[in-house]
C-alpha cells in the first residue's frame, strides 16, 4: 500500500490547489444522521444515550441476545420520510428492511438492519446558492438503519490493541443515511452542501446536526477526471471527518493527493482513507480487494412496509418552512437584505427568535441589526441563547424600542444590553434609577445649550468665523451637561439654530 506513505501536499483552508484546469473533482457525500426519536430503532431503549454509563441503555433486543426480535419504530420511519420530502425525494409505496451481514464487535447481531434495494425514498436533490451560482446536488436515496455500539481500544486500532471495551448504549439508535449523487465539484461545494443539509435536518428537528459528537457523520467519495469527461475516475472514500472544516480540508487534501498521483502517471487505488486531523492528511484504511460481501437479504423478522399516500400527505402537511423559503420570505416580508436573511435563518432557532422579536413589536430592521450585531456577539461569547438569557426576547423588544423612540441612546443601550443579558433585571427600573433616559425635554435642552454658548464665547466666535470644527466642542459641552443622555445630532442641530439666530 504505497499510498499509505505518500506524503501529501500541505493544505490550508482557503488555499485551493490550482488543479482545476487539469482535473475535475467528482465528489459525493454519504451522510449518517441519528434521529431524535424517543426510543431506539427496534426496541424501547432510549435513543438519547449521551451521559449514560456504558452498557446501561441496553435490552435483549439491542444487545442481540438469543431469541430477541426487532420491532420497528414508526416515528423513525416518519422522520425519514419527512427528511426525504424536504430533499425532494419520491416515496415509494413499498419499502422493506434488509440485513447487512458482517462481523464486528460493535454489531451485536452480526448484521445491521438496513435498507438495500427498496429504501424509504429515492431520487431527490438539494440545491443551494454558492458564490452567486446555484448548485444542484442529486440525492440518490434517504434510508433508515440502526447505529452500532462504540469501541474503545487499549491501543490505536482494534486489530493491534491489547484489549478493547465495547459500549452498546448507542446500539440500535435510529440512523438515517442520506446518499448524495457525485454532483459536487469542489471542497467548497461539499462543505456548503453539508452545511445546507445540516440546516435542513435541524430545521426539521430530526437530528441535532452535531458532527463533533458524531450524531451527524459524513463520508466523502472523491475521484478526479479530465474536465468534460463523463466517466468517473477511481473512487476513494474518506472517513473520520468530524467537522465542516475537516470535511473541507480532507477533500482538498484528497483532490491534491490524487492530482499528484495522476501527474506522476499513477492511478489512485480504490480504497477507504481516514482523515487524520493532527497530521492534516488522509491515510489508507483498507483497499477494495478486502471489501466485504454483505450478503444483503430481506429481514425476515420485519414485514415489508406499506407507505400509504395518506401518511405521505400527513407528513407533508407537517413540513415546516425550510431555510431557503424562510430566507426568501424575510427579504420580501420585512425588507431585509438577502445577506441578513441568510444569516438570520442559519438555524431554525435564530430565525424563530427574529420572528418573535418582530412579532413582539420591534421593527424588522432594528431586530435584524440587534440580533446580528450585539446579541449575536453576546450569545457566542457567553454560549447562551437570547431566549435563555436574563434579557429574553421581550427584554430585547423593549430595549430596542427605547432606542427607536429616542428614549435612550445607542451607547446606553449597549451597556444595558450586556448587563441585562448576563444578570437580568428590570429594564425600566434600571433606566429610571440610573437616570439614563434621554433629556428629551426641548426647553431643558435649550437651556443647557444656551448655558454652553454663554460659557464658551471663543468657540462661538470661531464657529461664526467659519470654523465648523468649533461647533463640535460646543456639542461636547452640551453632551457633558446631559451626562451623555442627549442625541448628539439633535444637539448639533439645536446649536446651529441658536448660533445662526444670534
Amino acid at each position: 500500500m504505497a499510498s499509505q506513505v505518500t506524503a501529501g501536499p500541505a493544505v490550508e483552508d482557503g488555499g485551493a490547489p490550482g488543479i482545476s484546469a487539469k482535473y475535475e473533482a467528482v465528489i459525493g457525500l454519504e451522510v449518517h444522521a441519528q434521529l431524535l426519536t424517543e426510543s431506539k430503532m427496534f426496541c424501547g431503549c432510549r435513543a438519547d444515550y449521551a451521559q449514560m454509563p456504558p452498557n446501561t441503555n441496553v435490552c435483549p433486543v439491542c444487545m442481540g441476545l438469543p431469541g430477541a426480535l426487532p420491532v420497528m419504530n414508526r416515528k423513525a420511519v416518519e422522520y425519514t420520510i419527512l427528511t426525504a420530502l424536504a430533499l425532494n425525494c419520491t416515496i415509494p409505496e413499498e419499502s422493506k428492511f434488509d440485513r447487512k451481514n458482517y462481523f464486528y464487535p460493535d454489531l451485536p447481531k452480526g448484521y445491521q438492519i438496513s435498507q438495500y434495494d427498496m429504501p424509504l425514498s429515492l431520487n431527490g436533490h438539494l440545491s443551494f446558492e454558492l458564490e452567486g451560482r446555484r448548485v444542484r446536488a442529486g440525492i440518490t436515496r434517504v434510508h433508515l438503519e440502526e447505529d452500532t455500539g462504540t469501541l474503545q481500544h487499549a491501543g490505536s486500532v482494534l486489530h493491534t490493541a491489547a484489549s478493547s471495551a465495547i459500549d452498546y448504549n448507542r446500539c440500535g439508535v435510529p440512523l438515517m443515511e442520506i446518499v448524495g449523487e457525485p454532483d459536487l465539484r469542489s471542497a467548497e461545494e461539499a462543505r456548503e452542501y453539508l452545511v445546507r443539509l445540516r440546516q435542513i435536518l435541524t430545521y426539521l428537528g430530526v437530528n441535532d446536526g452535531n458532527l463533533e459528537t458524531g450524531s451527524m457523520r459524513c463520508d466523502a467519495n472523491v475521484s478526479l477526471r479530465p474536465p468534460g469527461d463523463s466517466q468517473l475516475g477511481v473512487k476513494v472514500e474518506i472517513k473520520n471527518m468530524n467537522s465542516f472544516r475537516a470535511v473541507h480540508r480532507a477533500i482538498q487534501y484528497e483532490i491534491a493527493r490524487q492530482a499528484g498521483l495522476l501527474d506522476m502517471g499513477e492511478k489512485p487505488l480504490q480504497e477507504t482513507r481516514g482523515w487524520v486531523e493532527t497530521e492534516s492528511r488522509t491515510v489508507s484504511q483498507r483497499t477494495k480487494e478486502y471489501a466485504a460481501d454483505y450478503r444483503y437479504f430481506p429481514e425476515p423478522d420485519l414485514p415489508p412496509l406499506q407507505i400509504s399516500r395518506q401518511l405521505v400527505e400527513e407528513i407533508t402537511s407537517q413540513m415546516p418552512e425550510l431555510p431557503e423559503q424562510k430566507a426568501a420570505r424575510l427579504v420580501t416580508q420585512f425588507g431585509l437584505s438577502s445577506y441578513e436573511a441568510g444569516v438570520l435563518t442559519a438555524t431554525r432557532a435564530s430565525a424563530d427568535t427574529f420572528e418573535a422579536v418582530v412579532a413582539g413589536g420591534l421593527p424588522p430592521q432594528a431586530a435584524s441589526r440587534w440580533l446580528l450585531g450585539d446579541v449575536a456577539k453576546l450569545e457566542t461569547e457567553h454560549r447562551t441563547r437570547l431566549a435563555e438569557s436574563g434579557l429574553g426576547v421581550a427584554g430585547l423588544v423593549r430595549l430596542g424600542n427605547l432606542v427607536e423612540k429616542g428614549s435612550i441612546n445607542g451607547t446606553t443601550a449597549k451597556a444595558l444590553l450586556e448587563e441585562l443579558f448576563l444578570s437580568g433585571g428590570d429594564l425600566d427600573d434600571l433606566v429610571q434609577s440610573r437616570g439614563l433616559s434621554m433629556v428629551s425635554d426641548a426647553a431643558e435642552l435649550r437651556r443647557m445649550a444656551e448655558e454652553v454658548i454663554a460659557a464658551n464665547p471663543k468657540s462661538v466666535a470661531d464657529f461664526q468665523g467659519g470654523k465648523e470644527a468649533a461647533l463640535q466642542s460646543l456639542v461636547g459641552g452640551v453632551m457633558k451637561l446631559t451626562r451623555g443622555r442627549a442625541d448628539a445630532r439633535a444637539v448639533t442641530q439645536l446649536l446651529r439654530e441658536l448660533l445662526s439666530a444670534e
Binding site: 438469543p66 431469541g67 420497528m72 451481514n101 452480526g110 425476515p300 423478522d301
Partner: protein, 500 residues
C-alpha cells in the same frame, strides 16, 4: 409416587385439571411424579438438557395455594410442561443444544412461555434437541442424542426430539417444541404423540432462539388433540414484541373440536403417497383415510405438483436465514468464548465458532453464506423465494377445493440412532413436512398405528389460519381410532418398583 397420581400418566390435561380442581390431586404431587418419571426414564432417553426440580415444585405449590384459596385459576394451572431448549425462560439456562451456549442463562422469558407461565403452568425442564434445531434425529445435539421411548436405540426424530420423547414416555402431559421444517410433526410421528405446528405468525417467536425466522413456529406436544388445542389457545395471538405475529383474532379451537368430519372434504395429495413410503406407513395412513371416510368425510385425491421442490427450496432459504441468525454467536457478549486467553479478534471469532458449533450447523452456515453471496443470490435465494411462492400458491389452489389435507407425516418410522449417517438421507425425513412451513400453514401429526412396534404419524394440513379446522379433523380421527391409549413400556434395563 402417591396413590393419587398413580395411573395418571395417560390422562389428558382436561382430566388432570379436573382432578386438580376437585383437590383429588395436587400439582405438587403431579409435578413430583413427573420429575420422578423423568429421572426414571432419563438414563434410557436423555431427553433433558436441564431440569428445574426446585423451580418446578415452587411453581406447583404456588398453583396449589391459589387453588386452595379458591382463586380463579386457569385450567392449565399446575400442569407440568417441558420446554424445548431453544425457548428462553428468565434466569434459566438455554443452550439450543449447542456447546457454544453452555452455561448461558437467559435474562428474559419468551412470550409463548410467559403466557403459559401466566396461566400457572409448571416448567419441569429444558429438553434436548438438534443443535439450533437443525436436524431430524436429535443426534446433532452438542450434548448427545435422545432415545425413543418405544425403542431407546432408535431416534425420537428431531429437532424437538426431547420434547416428543418425554411426552411419549408419559413423564409430562405436554411440552413445547418448534417446527421449522417438521421439527414438531416428525418427532411427534416417530414418538407416537400429538405434535401441532400452528399457522406461521400465530404464536410469537419472541424468546425463541431463531433457526430460520420465516419458517420457525412454536407449538405443543401432547397426548391428546384437545390438549394441543388448549395450549395453542393459550399461546396464540399478536405480540408487540414479534412483528411477524398476525393481528387476526384467534379462533378458539376447543368448542369445535368434536364437530366431526361428516361432510368435510379431505384431500389426499398424490405426491405425499409416493413410493418413498415404507409399507407400514402406507398401510396405516390408508387405514386412516378409510376411517375418515367411515366418519362421513369426502375423500378426494389432489395434486401438489411442486412437492418435490420443497426440500431443495427449504435447504436454500433455511440455511440463508440461519447463516445470518447465528452470526450473533461470536463469543463477544455471551456463550463460550475461545480461546480462553486474550486473543486477536479474528482468532476469537474462528475459535469460538469452530469449536462451539457442530458439523451440521457449520454445514448450514456455509450453505447459507454461499447462497446469499454476491453473484449467487439470484440463482439460489431469489429462485428459492419464487419456488416458495409457487408452493404456497399450489396449496391455496387445493384449499379452494378441500377443507384440509391428510397425509403421512414421515415416510418411515423411527430409525436406529446412527443409521442416517449422510446429510441427504437425513434431510429426506422432512420431505412431507417442509412444504407446510414454506407455505406458513398449520399442520399436525397424530398417532395412526404402528410398523414393527414403532409409531406411525398421520399429518393433517389446513389452510392458513384454519388452525381450528386442523385440530377438529385430527380430533375426529383420534376419537374414532384407539391409538391415544397406546403407551411405551419402560425398558427392562431400567429397574423400577412401580408401574407407570
Amino acid at each position: 409416587m402417591t396413590a393419587a397420581v398413580a395411573g395418571t400418566g395417560n390422562w389428558s390435561i382436561t382430566r388432570l385439571a379436573q382432578a386438580l380442581e376437585k383437590k383429588e390431586l395436587s400439582s405438587e404431587e403431579l409435578t413430583g411424579a413427573a420429575l420422578d418419571s423423568i429421572d426414571t426414564w432419563e438414563p434410557a432417553l436423555h431427553a433433558y438438557l436441564s431440569q428445574m426440580r426446585e423451580h418446578a415444585l415452587d411453581s406447583a405449590r404456588a398453583s396449589d395455594r391459589a387453588r386452595l384459596a379458591d382463586e380463579k385459576v386457569s385450567l392449565l394451572s399446575g400442569i407440568p410442561i417441558a420446554l424445548k431448549d431453544v425457548l428462553c425462560l428468565e434466569n434459566q439456562p438455554v443452550t439450543a443444544g449447542s456447546r457454544l451456549l453452555e452455561g448461558f442463562t437467559s435474562p428474559y422469558t419468551a412470550t409463548a412461555v410467559a403466557r403459559l407461565k401466566a396461566a400457572g403452568m409448571v416448567f419441569v425442564g429444558k429438553t434436548n434437541c438438534d443443535e439450533f434445531a437443525m436436524g431430524s434425529s436429535t443426534e446433532n445435539s452438542g450434548y448427545g442424542p435422545t432415545g425413543n421411548p418405544w425403542d431407546p436405540a432408535c431416534s425420537p426424530g428431531g429437532s424437538s426430539g426431547g420434547s416428543a420423547a418425554t411426552v411419549a414416555a408419559r413423564s409430562v402431559p405436554c411440552s413445547l417444541g418448534t417446527d421449522t421444517g417438521g421439527s414438531i410433526r416428525q418427532p411427534a410421528s416417530l414418538c407416537g404423540v400429538v405434535g401441532f405446528k400452528p399457522t406461521y405468525g400465530r404464536v410469537s417467536r419472541y424468546g425463541l432462539i431463531a433457526f430460520a425466522s420465516s419458517l420457525d413456529q412454536i407449538g405443543p406436544f401432547t397426548r391428546r388433540v384437545e390438549d394441543a388445542a388448549l395450549l395453542y389457545r393459550e399461546m396464540a395471538g399478536a405480540d408487540p414484541m414479534d412483528s411477524t405475529t398476525l393481528s387476526d383474532p384467534v379462533e378458539d379451537p376447543v368448542p369445535q373440536l368434536s364437530a366431526g368430519v361428516a361432510g368435510l372434504r379431505l384431500g389426499v395429495p398424490r405426491e405425499y403417497m409416493g413410493s418413498a413410503l415404507s409399507p407400514g406407513v402406507r398401510a396405516a395412513v390408508e387405514a386412516a383415510i378409510a376411517l375418515y371416510q367411515e366418519q362421513g368425510a369426502i375423500i378426494e385425491e389432489v395434486s401438489l405438483p411442486s412437492t418435490d421442490l420443497g426440500l431443495s427450496t427449504y435447504y436454500v432459504i433455511a440455511p440463508a436465514e440461519c447463516s445470518s441468525n447465528l452470526a450473533r454467536f461470536d463469543g463477544v457478549r455471551y456463550g463460550n468464548r475461545l480461546p480462553s486467553e486474550l486473543a486477536p479478534l479474528t482468532e476469537m471469532y474462528l475459535e469460538t465458532r469452530r469449536k462451539g458449533f457442530g458439523p451440521e450447523v457449520k454445514r448450514r452456515i456455509m450453505l447459507g453464506t454461499y447462497v446469499l453471496s454476491h453473484g449467487y443470490y439470484d440463482a439460489y435465494y431469489r429462485k428459492a423465494q419464487q419456488v416458495r411462492s409457487l408452493i404456497a400458491n399450489e396449496f391455496s389452489t387445493v384449499f379452494s377445493k378441500v377443507d384440509a389435507l391428510i397425509a403421512p407425516t414421515s415416510p418411515s418410522v423411527a430409525f436406529p440412532l446412527g443409521a442416517k449417517s449422510d446429510a441427504l438421507s437425513m434431510y429426506m425425513c422432512d420431505v412431507l413436512t417442509v412444504p407446510v412451513n414454506l407455505a406458513g400453514l398449520p399442520g399436525i401429526s397424530i398417532p395412526c398405528g404402528f410398523e414393527d412396534g414403532l409409531p406411525v404419524g398421520l399429518q393433517v394440513i389446513g389452510p392458513r389460519l384454519a388452525d381450528a379446522m386442523v385440530l377438529r379433523v385430527a380430533h375426529a380421527y383420534e376419537e374414532a381410532s384407539g391409538w391415544k391409549d397406546e403407551a411405551p413400556k419402560l425398558p427392562h434395563t431400567l429397574t423400577t418398583g412401580e408401574a407407570l
